[in-house]
Symmetry: C2
Subunit: 129 residues, 2 copies
């Protein structure tokens, strides 16, 4: 099938599919005459796999690793689990950071009158050395 069909079936945009093909994440056949790419059912399955992994916040390179594990029928599940636990740790770290940020901003906003007067503890905090 052509790229439009593959994109539709995988829920990705044509642009994204082309990008994945360009960086070698998938390798559809390509007609020498027309340049048209030709996608198999298997290519579509990989695209769907990548789409889900991306929604789970895995990077393109992590997707590449997961994809090679996905294709290796003898892979040890420990490798996949390790990647996943690492990703969870990354997310936890980001959650901590954002929570601290949120609390600080919230504290500042709570102390700002938010009226027509110029006094503003938020700007004060930003300008305090």
């Amino acid at each position: 099938m052509n790229i439009g069909q593959a994109a539709k079936l995988s829920g990705l945009t044509v642009k994204t599919v082309r990008y994945y093909a360009n960086i070698g994440l998938i390798m559809p056949l390509q007609d020498n005459q027309t340049g048209y790419r030709s996608f198999s059912e298997d290519d579509v399955a990989k695209l769907q796999f990548i789409g889900k992994a991306r929604r789970f916040d895995f990077s393109i390179n992590e997707c590449r690793e997961l994809l090679s594990l996905y294709q290796d029928k003898n892979r040890p599940s420990s490798e996949v689990k390790a990647l996943t636990l690492e990703k969870i740790a990354q997310i936890d770290s980001k959650l901590d950071e954002l929570t601290r940020l949120r609390d600080q901003l919230s504290h500042l906003a709570n102390h700002c009158q938010g009226d027509g007067r110029p006094e503003c503890p938020i700007l004060d905090a930003l300008s305090r050395s």
Copy 2:
């Protein structure tokens, strides 16, 4: 003072300060002869202000807004508060998203043996249509 001194006093890198000057976030004097930028105490104060706002996750454009409010001695604090509340809402939204992601990945990891065998519910979940 020169850019190195301004960078040191503001806790930013020279590259970052130069970037901020290039995009007009700050406007140090510049010697026509040598091209050297000359920073005032006020420029340094602004750099420190921007540095803090960036650490609070405000984007460069949000910093630009905050900076113009910071310089406007008649600004209503309501404007600053609105920007801050909007930023808090953005962070909350990101927190929700990451928390959902974390829970889903955690659920998958909990059900994966993580041993030498190839069976892996994580990959199964990624490849299920």
